[in-house]
Point group: C2
Chain length 445, copies 2
């Protein structure tokens, strides 16, 4: 196994080293050839003779050479190994690459998103694109670490479910032996069950939604971060926990993701001091007053409303984050707790940030009778959700939680235009790795 | 939110405390009532008057009381709070439980596994059952931590795939808009693609297999731990990494899971010094010599062979773990590397431990031509696996990896009789939370 990553060459000046990686770019000056050798740690410049000119981009190389300090006037500040280069003594192509369909080095790839996705195995190697998933890893990791510090337990939520959790819209169906089964749209029922077991739980799970449209904000498969906890005194504790974890994540991204952020022109992320809270009706009034757009009768915010209220929060509170609370009962799932002091409205919230909805949460009904009554009123069949009902039948504390997509928040953090960019292998109604209509044409299969 | 967990009462002697939890057991002596109050940290004994006798098992309680040291002769060594009890001053039932279908306290529940699963939301609250998932959390956590120490990057592998990765057997089909899609049986193709991006990767993913039989060792949905890495000098490095991570996990279980292990009569897990390695043919010869059972022409080990070779390793090497290597080419997936020094056999291994197969791994073919040739020879269609082929087309280093189910290893660690016990919500051909034939009878839906 390789002993040295290219980034470590800066500490090996005058030493003989063996390096392994990919030829990222080749600058062939005939008698002298420069190669940027890339591995998972970064890039280092190789210098060799004309024999190196047979090497092509993405060839996999084994290199032996000597690390040399570059003269001051040739130091490259843009890369962490910019003060050194490696004079090649011996080299070998471990694996030869075919001619690339497009140039994959540099921060400005001159190709459209569909092309990047058609060549995903290749385009992911681009350092700027790869950086997106370094950020995603930090987001997920710090979600876990932040909640563990608050005595939360991680659990594994199922993908195959017996019954859609919140009615049947936009759910994928699975042929399950002789039965019909479904793919989980959320771990909602399971995280509530687990509150009965561990009190405070979280799960990182795949959520699958048959989104029937192709938009820049929706995926059919997402990696979703869910938390749920019991023994709350007030539903505001749920927002407080959500605020804590968002701040924790942003802080960790700043501490560990500096190199990745740089690719997106970011020095560090702005962390809100305190996230303001508005009832939906208050937010709609503010939007009306600012824009003249009157959506005050709507049960939810439109995307342009989300951008506007995020802008308002930035101007008024110095942060683009804002909690919108008290959505109408009819607009929230059947298990959402109604505010006894504001009937018709729920103890629920969305977190808006980066001009869009990032997170949703709220207090849940923990009384079995009320829960069953609500489900019946909405014609939601819970026959196969017996385990969910059990959790309430045998004693459930007051509880609540929140949920957010890892892709959506990474999209916000990095200012990506399309959520597909924030998914390693994005799926939508036309794409599962490959573009399905291209492959099948009109004769869909 | 609650400020104090019951376990913390040991540090609060003579103080007034507020506690929240579930009434686990009630011992009603008429004038005096003892209640074991359970929360996620453990159990503490409450002492109160006759008014407490209205409380039933699993009622959710808010308690105010005074922590008192127990007299020496009444100390309970079995629980961490055994030196104290709480004299109840004020109490409230936050949520009333219905009569339980069976007693859920204690380490010996007198019910069958199907009943435990039919009442999973309740049975998971039993401390011995809950302990299984504390161990699972530690296993998954330490898999992550151990590999991060070796410069591995975590990635999110998809659940919905365009094409079964290794041929079509036992794959679930999904209705994907107007197309057919499938559920991932393993993250194999994706982890190999990601070696081209991050060199060393791992993923914790859901793997779905339409196992057409109900056995004690198979689930249709598992949480699987996969690692894959490039720039290997020899395939033996893959086994070395597998050995490292298994030892790392067992060490962490010992350090963090002591309380959970105790429920299963375990003080600590035995950690192998060095895991022996045998070719399949050598193992079969040993088994033949020990038992007279001649499976030397078989391409794989039977369950009873696995038990026998694990027994042999225990006697001969002081560990029940043993790597079995060099399975025949025909028996391994098309991407498995053939041993150039032992043609017809592969550079692949299974890890046997606790008398069963725990893990599988090996070196992969990294040359596109050979890979495509092998797939064609086995009639494996890779048309929709274009991204996988790209990874090799554009330069892939020599690489390999391994995979193991989190449920299977937890089953081994705790000596569980059935792998369903090690899955929070086990799925098999007859069960998705509920028992499907009971619900639907002969009229399957």
């Amino acid at each position: 196994m390789k002993a040295l990553f290219v980034e470590e060459t800066v500490n090996k000046i005058s030493e003989e080293v063996e390096l392994f990686g990919w030829a990222e770019t080749i600058r062939d000056h005939k008698k002298i050839v420069f190669i940027d050798l890339r591995d998972s740690s970064g890039v280092v410049q190789l210098v060799g003779g004309a024999d190196l000119s047979v090497i092509s981009p993405e060839d996999v190389l084994r290199i032996k050479g000597t690390v040399k300090a570059r003269p001051d006037n040739l130091v490259n500040d843009k890369i962490s190994t910019g003060k050194v280069e490696v004079t090649v003594k011996d080299w070998e192509i471990l694996s030869k690459a075919e001619t690339l369909p497009f140039e994959i080095s540099g921060d400005n790839l001159n190709v459209t998103l569909p092309v990047l996705l058609n060549y995903r195995a290749l385009s992911l190697r681009n350092p700027k694109i790869k950086a997106i998933f370094e950020i995603q890893e930090i987001v997920i990791d710090s979600f876990r670490n932040g909640l563990k510090e608050k005595q939360f337990t991680e659990f594994q939520s199922p993908v195959i479910i017996p019954q859609p959790a919140e009615g049947g819209a936009e759910v994928f169906e699975v042929k399950y032996f002789d039965y019909k089964a479904y793919l989980a749209q959320s771990p909602q029922f399971y995280k509530q069950i687990m509150v009965g077991v561990f009190e405070r739980v979280f799960t990182v799970s795949k959520t699958l939604r048959a989104e029937p449209s192709v938009t820049t904000r929706h995926l059919t498969e997402a990696t979703t971060l869910d938390a749920e906890f019991g023994f709350i005194d007030s539903w505001e504790e749920i927002m407080a926990m959500a605020e804590y974890i968002i701040k924790f994540i942003l802080k960790e991204v700043n501490e560990r993701g500096g190199e990745a952020l740089k690719h997106y022109g970011l020095e560090s992320l702005s962390i809100p001091k305190e996230i303001p809270r508005l009832k939906l009706r208050e937010a709609q009034k503010i939007i009306f007053e600012r824009t003249g757009r009157d959506n005050q009768q709507e049960p939810d915010l439109e995307p342009e409303d989300e951008r506007e209220i995020s802008k308002w929060a930035t101007e008024k509170h110095g942060t683009g984050f804002v909690f919108i609370t008290h959505y109408p009962v009819a607009k929230r799932p059947f298990y959402t707790y109604e505010d006894p002091e504001d009937l018709g409205y729920t103890l629920s919230f969305d977190l808006i940030g980066y001009g869009m909805e990032l997170m949703t949460g709220g207090q849940r009904i923990h009384q079995l009778d009320k829960l069953v009554e609500n489900a019946q009123a909405r014609n939601i069949d819970l026959q196969r959700s017996e385990l969910y009902l059990q959790a309430f039948r045998y004693g459930m504390p007051p509880e609540g939680g929140f949920s957010f997509g890892s892709e959506r928040i990474v999209m916000g953090i990095l200012g990506l235009a399309n959520v597909r960019e924030a998914s390693l292998f994005p799926r939508d109604m036309e794409r599962i790795d490959v573009h399905l209509p291209t492959l099948y044409g009109k004769d869909k299969k």
